[in-house]
Amino acid sequence: MSEKKKMAKSDASPASKATPPNATPKMKGDKVKVFYGEKQALMDVDLDIQPNEVTALIGPSGCGKSTFLRCLNRMNDVIDICRVEGKITLDDEDIYDSTLDPVQLRARVGMVFQKPNPFPKSIYDNVAYGPRIHGTAQSKADIDEIVETSLTKAGLFGEVKDRLLEPGTGLSGGQQQRLCIARAIAVNPEVILMDEPCSALDPIATAKIEELIDELRENYTIVIVTHSMQQAARVSQRTAFFHLGELVEVGDTEQIFTNPNDSRTQGYITGRFG
């Protein structure tokens, strides 16, 4: 891992920023505030997502990490009472700009959910759905190829190649989740958001998914929300710690886990609260 050592000189202020590395950030949150009705769920979060890196968002339940993740592809739009303030950019484009179509955005920023949620269709149709609606594949052969490469990338092709036409819901939990990842990468998004993708899986399936995330990093930018600090330490290059709607600290994973600047981060990773 040839990680550029980032300084991550964050003081105690909640809006602490990791020092920008030489690469320009893929996505950038600037003073992001989220309200559910009257209740404010996120307070002025500034967070950069670096390209081709895995960024882990950790923190106790209800700290706003999932909320922030769902802001990144505007999945919060579907919640009526949810209101987002501040600015989030993808390649310096404001994704909350009124001229930007959230549907187009979600094709560029894909998502994998906590609970595996394959469509009640065949494995093939699950993966082919994205390319079909976006028209990225013209012929049946193109779609066949996309399905095969996506399933291969998700490490599932060997297991399902003889039953592509069977329902995706008939797979085991871990296979379903890898199917969902295959479905997400079939669209070829630039960023993949993962919301606790392993929380419903057993350790073996989890290990497979983690391995997969590490491979996907080559081609995609990944943001992952996780409750498992070991998982964050294993798969991510950068880690952001959220607490009570604030971004407490963000920095290199190694630094966060060995030498956190904030006492709350220290407390959380050593298991004193959360």
């Binding site: 999945m75 579907v78 979600r106 894909g110 994998v112 959910f113 949620n117 394959p118 479905r183 669209v187």
Partner: protein, 437 residues
């Protein structure tokens, strides 16, 4: 330890639930009682159903039989074609009624008095002449011939054959007089009385003569009406449900609309009839008694049912499916048409068929728009005057002739058969569209 300190005050002993004794017995007894109650209610409902269907079938099955009398009929040229031209127009307008009467007199030479003759004429259906007319027009060579033919009996004789006339009663209390009984027994002993399957009941429309009355007019009317109802209420209802459930913002207005839809489902159906009368007939001037207007009124009545059922079917689709599709970059419309609607379809179809079954059995709103009329023709289109099955049942139940009693029950059986058919269709559609997730 932690449990103990949490559940009890410090210092008290830890109490664990005992698995024997009074409480357990009570619990088992309560469960047994509950099961018995449930079984009891199912049995009660089943018994009532068996009784209902049994009594309807018991009274109604005889309507599927019709008595015929074998008579020697001579196609007398004197009545049919006095001039001997062989002209079809002349054959069509001939006095077949007179011919039937003459043949009856010839078959019973012993009848001479005027009063007895009238009784004799009452033996066969007043429409028997029309049947003979059809025969002659189909085959003009019959003129001049003499044949033994089975002629449809009148309703009184039909009732006598089916055993609904009590011979022990005084003559004045019976529809069939003693002389008629003598004639009948003579015919019967000569094997000139026969019960046949009553095809007319299924191929004719309403009539004042019970033996001529059929269900086809009402069945056709019901079908045409339901087609209109389905075409109007299904698309409108499903569209409204999809919009309200998937697209409409949740605010005061949508709440108001929702409350109103739920209220509309409880509005007495006759009110919809009044609305139809005021709007479709008086304001728009649509034809009276027509399946078109009937279908529109029933569509108004069915809409709330379909909307409510469709909304709950849409609500039952797990949100994770919507999120998955949205997360892949599907537009809200694609989410609905590709994923939500197919998954909700079984529920929507069930709701629709329940609504249609309700509409099929509805009488009150149709009375207001004139579908209670007595109509002797099978309707040929959406604007022809028509009646529907439940109205037909009501009309027959209201008729004084004894023979309409069995026809009322038979019509109810046809209506029930229709409902069962629709329910089977609903189950099959459910099976076809059902997908597991």
């Amino acid at each position: 330890m932690t449990d103990a300190t949490m559940n009890s005050k410090p210092g008290t002993e830890i109490r664990r639930p005992t698995l024997t004794g009074e409480r357990l017995k009570k619990r088992y007894a309560a469960e047994r009682r509950f099961r018995l109650y449930g079984l009891g209610s199912i049995l009660t409902a089943g018994l009532i159903l068996v009784f209902l269907v049994g009594s309807i079938t018991g009274t109604g099955y005889t309507a599927f039989l019709q008595t015929y009398i074998k008579l020697n009929i001579s196609f007398d040229p004197e009545f049919l074609d006095p001039a001997g031209t062989g002209d079809v127009a002349q054959l069509a307008s001939a006095d077949y009624g007179g011919m039937v009467k003459k043949n009856l007199r010839d078959n019973f030479p012993e009848v001479t008095s005027r009063r007895d003759k009238r009784k004799l004429y009452n033996f066969v259906s007043p429409n028997a002449g029309f049947d003979l007319r059809t025969m002659v027009i189909d085959d003009p060579s019959l003129v001049g011939q003499s044949l033994d033919l089975w002629i449809k009996a009148s309703d009184d004789i039909d009732m006598l054959t089916k055993g609904y006339v009590d011979r022990t009663l005084e003559e004045s209390n019976r529809r069939v007089s003693d002389t008629e009984l003598v004639w009948y027994d003579k015919l019967d002993s000569n094997d000139r009385i026969e019960s046949r399957f009553n095809t007319d009941f299924f191929v004719k429309a309403d009539s004042r003569e019970p033996e001529e009355a059929g269900i086809l007019g009402a069945v056709t009317g019901s079908l045409l009406t339901l087609v209109i109802t389905l075409l109007l209420s299904f698309p409108i209802g499903v569209m409204a449900a999809i919009y309200l459930e998937e697209f409409a913002p949740k605010n005061k207005w949508t709440d108001l609309i929702e409350v109103n839809i739920n209220n509309l489902a409880a509005v007495p159906s006759i009110v919809f009839g009044l609305l139809g009368l005021a709007m479709f007939l008086n304001f728009f001037g649509f034809p009276r008694s027509a399946p078109l207007v009937g279908g529109m009124v029933l569509a108004l009545m069915t809409l709330p049912t379909i909307i409510i059922a469709s909304r709950s079917a849409l609500k039952a689709v797990p949100p994770s499916i919507r999120e998955a599709a949205l997360g892949l970059g599907a537009s809200p419309l694609q989410v609905v048409t590709h994923h939500v609607l197919p998954l909700a379809m079984p529920g929507i179809l069930t709701g629709t068929i329940i609504g249609m079954a309700q509409a099929l059995g509805e009488t009150a709103p149709l009375l207001m728009i004139g579908m209670i009329a007595f109509i002797v023709d099978v309707p040929g289109g959406f604007t022809d005057p028509a009646t529907v099955l439940p109205v037909q049942i009501y009309l027959w139940a209201d008729s004084p002739e004894r023979a309409f009693v069995e026809r009322t029950s038979a019509a109810i059986m046809v209506l029930l058969a229709f409902l069962i058919f629709m329910n089977i269709l609903a189950v099959m559609l459910r099976k076809k569209f059902e997908r597991r997730w």
